[in-house]
């Protein structure tokens, strides 16, 4: 499904990712953990196609497409979704309108008919319940005046509506209180399916108590230094990251 091989990425001439290999199968949930500045968000952004990163070597293939050749919207149409670490506010643009435009663009790209307003609103109401967003929230400007928790819930809500095949959650748990975390996790778990792969970028093991990963990777100094199952996350929680570095000899 997603195959990242020997990916090297630089920002302003400085190498951030120094050869990432990561293969994720359909239906799998992978957690990427690591200290600050290790390149976790860079990886998430590069997969989604954000500008400002220089790919110096390597490849990202998704369903046998060369992802690096595609622009951000084409990646979205192919099923890539990024839940942003810092969702941006877009004043005056209706939250649901943005979503409808995105969903219909994707349907159009897939040769499907566009959803009309009534079908769309049914879908939206159903998905909003999943993350306990009330209707009033839907018609507000995109993230406009949302609290941190609301923004993160909005991301998961959008993911639920857009039904991606690859969802990348970039520190979706950061800044959430325990109740909000539970709601977000419930939403994510409801979206787990055999066709959908999920990559969770996180600092904390806490999220993994709620969303159980199939694999855990430690990203530090631009490389994946260690991979394991959920027990690795527990160990990291206890021992920190230094021992992984030492083990990997970096």
């Amino acid at each position: 499904m997603l195959k990242i091989d020997d990916l090297h990425v630089a920002v302003d001439g400085k190498e951030i990712l120094k050869g990432i290999d990561l293969h994720i199968g359909a239906g799998e949930v992978h957690a990427i953990m690591g200290p600050n500045g290790s390149g976790k968000s860079t990886l998430a952004n590069v997969i989604a196609g954000r500008d400002g990163y220089e790919i110096t070597a390597g490849s990202i293939r998704f369903h046998n497409n060369d992802l690096l050749e595609m622009n951000p919207e084409e990646r979205a149409w192919a099923g890539v979704f990024l839940a942003f670490q810092y969702p941006v506010e877009i004043p005056g643009v209706n939250n649901v309108y943005l979503l409808k435009a995105g969903l219909n663009a994707r349907r159009k790209a897939a040769g499907l008919s566009e959803l009309d307003a009534i079908e769309f609103m049914q879908l939206v109401r159903e998905k909003a319940r999943l993350v306990e967003l009330d209707d009033a929230f839907l018609s507000r400007g995109v993230n406009e005046g949302f609290s941190g928790g609301e923004k993160k819930r909005n991301e998961i809500f959008q993911m639920a509506v857009l039904e991606p095949t690859l969802a990348i959650l970039d520190e979706t748990d950061s800044g959430l209180d325990i109740d909000a975390l539970r709601v977000v996790a419930k939403g994510v778990n409801a979206l787990r399916s055999a066709e959908r792969s999920i990559v969770m970028v996180t600092h904390y093991q806490r999220l993994l108590d709620y969303i159980e990963p199939d694999a855990v990777h430690v990203l530090a100094d631009g490389r994946i230094l260690k991979s394991g199952d959920k027990h690795l996350a527990l160990e990291l929680e206890k021992r920190g990251y230094d021992w992984v570095r030492e083990e990997a000899n970096v």
Binding site: G49, V88, I90, L98
Partner: protein, 481 residues
């Protein structure tokens, strides 16, 4: 292609309404003197008093010089190189109905998406279509007449309602008001006249589509709208122009008078030729628009969407003379390529408990220069006056500029003033967010810009709001990065 070039591409979108209809024009040779004014006045069979009024304005104009305080740059205008009168030949016979209108003219309107027939039948909008200087098609007169509403070319009003015209013409914008208004007073050729009698709610939106068509012909429209006690009217003005190289001067004057409890809503969508991507050509739009809330509890509301013209110099204003009167100004102005706009409003509070609201949204792209210039004046007798001003600027790209010049004069200590201003760049973050959700870059720009303009568009009449959205989309096609 870099993000930046993409932005430039979007911004550099060619003007879609650029074409010239070939209709024989009866045009005066270029130049301005008393004879020209006498010729215009005679052509229109005007009464003596109006000729004298024009000549007085001309005498005064000769003593004036162009205002130079606006934040715009352009080469000097040679007023003697402009032709001051042109009318389509067909107007000599005066078409009795749309069937008699020159098919080429109707074709022009169709290209602009203004099918008169459809408008008549579907939209219920009366159209006083101005093609160059003479109005050639006026519709729905009957229905308006039943309501007692007068809506006609101002030249017709001079003939049929001379006492009304004489009473109100120049009573809001005096002939000596400013350089362009004085010029307009001397040489105006046509425009609209609207009179809503006491207590009447105008049964439909009144709409005029302006169009400039003859090369080198300055356009000097004159519009006068009078709303008597307790009456209501909504007036729509929209325009596009054909593409050409020479600069064209447009110096219109619009006067609104609202008596006690009357309401006038004046909406404009302006899309005149902005010049090419090198800044060559385009319309100079130097307009004086002013409303007089003469009566108590009267209300005048200006809403404008300005996307065209090479240079815009325009400050639709309200004189809040009547107690408890209300003035509103909602504006979206877009400057791209080498367009320059210096626009805003004046709210002059004279009466007690008068209220004004200013919402200005400026969007600059390409090499566009955008200035908001506003004056809020609270007179010494204007107890309890209130103003709320919000002016926001949005920059697309890094070669454009946005400037804000707010002036406030408060001579009464009971006034309440609020002012908010923001300048933002359309963010890469916002664009990426939209694109990540599957929205193409171009659609994302439209989405963000329309969101930015929402507070203003909400104040447009329904059919105009749709048009405004479409206009922004066309104007921004291909615009950010």
């Amino acid at each position: 292609m870099s993000e930046n070039t993409q932005v430039e591409d979007l911004v550099g979108k060619q003007y879609e309404a650029g074409f010239v209809t070939d209709i024989e024009q009866e045009t005066l040779p270029p130049g301005l003197n008393e004879d020209v004014i006498r010729h215009i006045s005679a052509k229109k069979d005007e009464p003596e008093w109006l000729l004298d009024w024009r000549l007085a304005a001309f005498e005064h104009w000769k003593t004036m010089s162009e205002p130079n305080w606006a934040h715009v740059k352009f080469s000097a205008i040679d007023y003697q190189a402009i032709s001051y009168f042109s009318a389509p030949k067909s107007s000599e016979d005066g078409p009795k109905s749309l069937d008699e209108v020159d098919p080429k003219l109707l074709e022009t309107y169709k290209k602009l998406g203004i099918p008169l027939h459809e408008q008549e039948m579907l939209a219920g909008v009366a159209v006083d279509a101005i093609f160059d200087s003479v109005s050639v098609a006026t519709t729905f007169k009957g229905k308006l007449k039943d309501a007692g509403v007068i809506f006609c070319p101002i030249s017709e009003a001079v003939r049929d309602y001379p006492e009304l015209v004489r009473k109100y013409l120049g009573s809001v914008v005096p002939t000596t008001d400013n350089f362009y208004a004085a010029l307009n007073s001397a040489v105006f050729t046509d425009g609209s006249f609207v009179f809503i009698p006491k207590g009447v709610r105008c049964p439909m939106e009144l709409s005029t589509y302006f169009r400039i068509n003859a090369a080198n012909t300055g356009q000097f429209e004159r519009t006068l709208i009078i709303a008597e006690e307790g009456s209501h009217v909504s007036y729509l003005e929209g325009c596009t122009a054909p593409q050409r190289d020479e600069n064209q001067l447009h110096a219109a004057v619009v006067e609104l008078v609202a008596l006690d409890d009357a309401q006038i809503k004046y909406s404009t969508v302006q899309n005149w030729y902005p010049g090419d991507e090198n800044g060559v050509g385009g319309i100079y739009n130097f307009v004086t628009k002013r409303g007089d809330c003469r009566g108590a509890r009267s209300r005048i509301s200006w809403t404008q969407v300005e996307t065209g013209s090479a240079i815009t110099w325009k400050y639709p204003s309200c004189i809040l003379r009547g107690d408890d009167s209300v003035g509103e100004f909602y504006s979206v102005a877009l400057t791209k390529m080498h367009q320059q706009a210096d626009t805003g409003t004046k709210m002059v509070h004279l009466g007690k408990n008068t209220t004004s609201t200013i919402i200005s949204k400026g969007i600059a792209a390409g090499f566009g220069q955008q200035s908001y210039r506003g004056l809020v004046h609270i007179g010494k007798n204007a107890d309890g006056a209130r103003n709320h001003t919000q002016c926001d600027s949005l920059l697309l790209g890094s070669n454009c500029g946005a400037h804000t010049f707010p002036y406030v004069e408060v001579k009464n200590p009971t006034a309440t003033m609020e002012h908010e201003a923001t300048t933002s760049k359309i963010g890469d973050d916002q664009l990426f967010y939209c694109r990540q959700r599957g929205i193409s870059e171009e659609d994302a720009v439209n989405l963000i810009v329309n969101g930015f303009c929402k507070d203003v568009f909400n104040n447009l009449p329904m059919e105009f709001a749709v048009e405004a959205n479409r206009l922004m989309e066309v104007s921004l096609e291909g615009a950010v990065g």
